[in-house]
Subunit: 345 residues, 2 copies
Amino acid sequence: MAQVRNKQVILSNYVTGFPKESDFNVVESTISLELPEGSNNVLIKNLYLSCDPYMRGAMTKPEGSERKGSPTYVPASPIAGYGVAKVIESGHSNYKKGDLVWGFTTWEEYSLVPAAQLVTKIENSDVPLSYYTGILGMPGMTAYAGFFELSSPKEGETVFVSAASGAVGQLVGQFAKLTGCYVVGSAGTKEKVDLLKNKFGYDEAFNYKEEPDLDAALKRYFPQGIDIYFENVGGKTLDAVLSNLKVHARIPVCGMISQYNLTEQEGVKNLSKLIYNRVRLQGFIVTDYYHLYPKYLEFLLPKIKEGKVVYVEDIAEGIENGPAALVGIFSGRNVGKQVVAVAHE
Amino acid sequence: MAQVRNKQVILSNYVTGFPKESDFNVVESTISLELPEGSNNVLIKNLYLSCDPYMRGAMTKPEGSERKGSPTYVPASPIAGYGVAKVIESGHSNYKKGDLVWGFTTWEEYSLVPAAQLVTKIENSDVPLSYYTGILGMPGMTAYAGFFELSSPKEGETVFVSAASGAVGQLVGQFAKLTGCYVVGSAGTKEKVDLLKNKFGYDEAFNYKEEPDLDAALKRYFPQGIDIYFENVGGKTLDAVLSNLKVHARIPVCGMISQYNLTEQEGVKNLSKLIYNRVRLQGFIVTDYYHLYPKYLEFLLPKIKEGKVVYVEDIAEGIENGPAALVGIFSGRNVGKQVVAVAHE
């Protein structure tokens, strides 16, 4: 069988603290582009790989039963994540050669994956294919499920979003505006704050790095308090939010990126504020909501085509640049959804 | 108009840290036992006063809009809380002379209260009247709403209750057993731990003061994790629970008594555990559930009469002993529901 080159991104060591480029290696392996006899797996060519905050958890050495439900990388093996791919050969009836798909794949040029790892075929190709790592993929469904399913937003409510220009945040803000909410976002650079106000339609936005007193900043933007806080960062931001909630506020907990690289987590002190305000703080995992994907496409595709919802991506070209792109999201280097383009078709 | 003596419990100063007996004074005032002309209020003789953890919040000097929804005491004025009383005269059609009632009253022998402060007339007097400060009053409804309405318990689930022998906790444990759950409680003395196991039917119980490692204690009692944590204490206990939850766990947040007397709240570090386990942490206030009170009585009264649900009270005799009784609940001096008997009929 003919073997072809298969570049891979390998975890060199378990990571502690902030991940560095040197925690990864790009190596050359080989792969056969024929399906093994009798296999019901799918052989795919990876086109776009998604850099997502949850991947930080997979880089940490697992301890006991601690990391239920989340993937774990193995040193000296390639890392994994969401991606867009083209089917080269398929042993499974759901997929055929030439199909475009998105789902869970490996960081390499070609992968042999179980069909169950693929979320779905891509039926609409009149939008950028890379969108299926973001607005039309896992982060998009995360924003949709977290905002509409967990928060039950109503017109006129007040919404705060942290990491607001990120893969998920930029959509939450736009969904909030479509619902008739007042929405404020926080981000870590002036460029991102400008995007929030001028591109995504946030009513207000601020650079949290320039706010010595987050509580005061929230009181400025939400004098009457917050109805919905879409939680992406945790730590000090959550603590400040807890002192600025309205009665019956909802906090869908999507992620806590500010905590992922700390060896000792920050303590959150204002949890007793949940009581009198009858607040619901709820963690969620997007995979529980994938049955809503067709409904999501029906809601969103027309809005993308009419320009009513926009999406900003930060695309790194070439799998060689994958480690830098992945590491960059933990220091906020990316502007918008971070993608790695392995190939364009 | 004839005036009678009316002993009152007065707040001497706003409280910081743990409340002390000297933060209160018992003084003699006078009151007329006739309703003012044209009043639609209700004149009541207070029989039993309830000592509840939420009262600590009312002793703190209010800051801005911080204490929405909770009462605030005023120095040099009598404090207030739940109680059982007998109607002396009524200007309101819902109540008449001789009725027994429970509701929100003032810490004094006689009170003139708006009818809206009273929750309801007492129709069943074949149980101890003091029960209407506890099992048949606000704490009982708190246990019922927090456990059944917010936690949606199922047979076979695992339940952990902190402050488990308290006014609310002793009922949550018994409700969990009636539902077919496995239930473990924590308390602060050997006497209370014995009560949990031998009187309230908890499957297991431990003294948290004798557990240097709460995480290890929970792993011992819940090797498969916790489905429902009934949160009464906050702080370190909550942090340990967060590392021992099952997927889709529910945490109704009833109170955080371990934090009420601290000038600096303890930080809770394990909140990111909410995410992968899809945990719902939800604050609630019992007054939102008072419409369920008739349903609660229907559920509970037969069980009390058949001895299937029991209740332990700690009754201090005389309003003069009110301050000591109230202060005592914050150091765990009481065993079971703390009540102050002002008069018995």
